[in-house]
């Protein structure tokens, strides 16, 4: 393996530094090569880009605004906080950006059957949505535990015409949904497009997902310059696989801007999903990156109140940015995320997804420690409607 000269392009074998690669069964190699070729060709194809921009604007509602959380600032003091409103995108989260891009790739590749994995259900809903719009067959794999805790999203996916397959193996969460989606893909690789949702997995997925999510950073960088006259001092986003974070970080990597990824710390060190904080290097689902694992190399059970952060891995580009010292990663507990969700709801009238509430929690902690002229930009990656059952039962349990 060779090393990459910058953070913008993985090397020919799909490594960001020493992270990433293509750790898959041989059966999938031609499909991944074909996907890589198609993506490389189409990302420079003006007709493809024009079509994608049209859909992002007229269908997904982009650009999403940035919004200054002024009452929150008055309450906390310190830095001013701006929110990138991905919760306002169609389907209620940033996942639509990548789903539209990859579905267009599927259509251009002549594949009429699409499969996807989902944790919180946001990527599943986004995939089911674009498949309905393009008239593609759609199968979504979802862990049985997530089927229960994100029941609303299951209803939405089925309403949109997708088949939702509950996965009962292993921990019955996102990790197992990916296992099952990969098994489906190995079996139906000739006819099927795997619409991968996170910035992880085998090359070229971490690159493709980032390229389709970088619109978040491109927009918000220009919006900050336009509305505040300068760049933010710190950009904060929640991280698990890390697609929303890499999407907003990417445009700021070359700027003097702090990048902070917020992992899910669960209930504490014994029950966590904070992979970069508590994990070690390992191979899972097609990539070498950090993993939560036991000393024998078996993947460890994870816990987060946010189904979309409950995965034992992290995207390889985040491992690279952390190693390079370009981004830092912290963790936030379930309790802090719940608190942040309520704070944002009461001060700004915005109920964030539990995933995005992790990023908010760190912003709320950081802002008062910074001077009044500092600017924080938070990627509010999704809205919280899907989480109301979870929040009600968690608050009930807390008394």
């Amino acid at each position: 393996m060779t090393t990459t000269a910058d953070t913008h392009t993985p090397d020919a074998a799909g490594y960001f530094g020493t992270w990433g690669g293509r750790y898959v069964p041989e059966t999938l190699v031609p499909a991944l090569v074909e996907l890589e070729d198609a993506f490389m060709r189409l990302r420079d194809d003006s007709a493809f880009q024009t079509e994608l921009e049209r859909l992002l604007h007229h269908y997904a509602g982009r650009p999403t605004p940035i919004y200054e959380a002024r009452r929150l600032h008055e309450e906390l003091g310190g830095a001013r906080i701006w929110l990138k409103r991905e919760d306002l995108a169609h389907t209620g989260a940033h996942k639509i950006n990548n789903a539209l891009g990859q579905a267009l790739l599927a259509v251009r590749s002549g594949k009429r059957r699409v499969i996807a994995e989902t944790g919180a259900g946001q990527h599943g809903v986004a995939t089911a949505t674009v498949c309905a719009m393009f008239g593609l067959e759609c199968v979504v794999y979802m862990g049985e535990e997530d089927v229960h805790r994100q029941a609303l999203n299951v209803v939405r996916m089925r309403m949109l015409g997708a088949e939702v397959v509950p996965v009962t193996s292993g921990s019955q969460t996102l990790k197992d949904a990916i296992n099952e989606a990969l098994r489906d893909w190995v079996t139906h690789v000739e006819s099927t497009f795997y619409l991968f949702g996170s910035a992880t997995g085998p090359h070229p997925y971490p690159l493709i997902v980032r390229e389709f999510q970088k619109v978040i950073g491109i927009e918000s960088r220009a919006q900050m310059l336009e509305q505040t006259g300068r760049l933010p001092d710190t950009v904060i986003a929640c991280v698990n696989g890390g697609s929303n974070a890499i999407g907003i970080f990417h445009s700021f990597v070359g700027d003097p801007v702090g990048l902070v990824g917020v992992e899910a710390g669960g209930t504490g060190p014994a029950q966590t999903a904070a992979t970069l904080e508590a994990g070690s290097p390992g191979i899972l689902h097609g990539a070498i990156s950090y993993l939560l694992q036991d000393e024998d190399g078996q993947i460890a059970p994870t816990h987060s109140i946010a189904a979309g952060l409950d995965y034992p891995g992290v995207g390889p580009e985040h491992a690279y940015l952390r190693d390079a010292g370009r981004a830092s990663y912290v963790s936030v507990t379930d309790e802090q995320a719940l608190e942040a969700l309520q704070t944002l709801a009461r001060f700004e009238g915005i109920i964030p997804a539990l995933e995005s509430a992790h990023a908010m929690a760190h912003a709320i902690e950081l802002a008062p420690t910074l001077p009044g002229d500092a600017l924080i930009l938070v990627n509010l990656s999704g809205r919280g409607d899907k989480d109301m059952d979870t929040v009600v039962s968690a608050l009930g349990a807390a008394g």
Partner: protein, 265 residues
Amino acid sequence: MSRIAAAFTDAGADGRLVIAPYVALGYPDMPTSVALARAYVDAGANMLELGVPFSDPIADGPTIQRATQRALAEGATLTGCIEAAATIRASTDAPLVLMGYANPFLQWGYEDLARDLRDAGVDGLIVPDLLPDDNEELALACSAHGLDVIPLVAPTTPSDRIGRVAERGSGFLYCVSLTGVTGRRQDLQTGLAAFLQRVGESAALPRAVGFGISTPAHVRALCGQAEAAIMASALIDIFDAAPPSKAVARAAAQVEAMADAAACR
């Protein structure tokens, strides 16, 4: 000559296939899996594939998933698997090939792994999620300790890649018989003969066919088209269907029937 090479040479001289059953180490418990391995050799197996359990076996269907999850629940570890291999080695000269996913091997350390496997009497390693493109460190370590790293090819693999994959490995070429995961099948995949012919034209290594090889008739159908047959899920299904006191004997009887078919008479 390595044990693996000798097994293929002997079988080739007799005009028969090498029979290589898979044993899920630690299933239903470690001592029983060791007994099963020995029973398979007594029943005519020429090579053993010893499966190391992993929490996320993406290339495996329900049977091996269930067996390996049970093995982990029973406390199977890579340490225990290597010890089991050494125990099996003490009673047979048949080649032993360890099969498992990359992460437990990576955590052990490739250099230490190669040395410890050699010491245990293991002859080769199959890692279904480690492509020759990414396995340089493991390949060097294994080569230094005289272990074969067995490459895999699939029906989707283009012919030029088959050649490149084969050159990066040694011992034999694991030909995945179908596009799919492991598991018992009624029929061999359409196009298997053409695939195996393509492999033979593109690579010099002996061809071992696995995934879905379930019956003596499947084995017989491979005569003249490959050099070895690997069977896994179908044996576990037979083991599971039998009363516990007869399970080892029933699974071994199937290996015996497959070994008869492998004589290619």
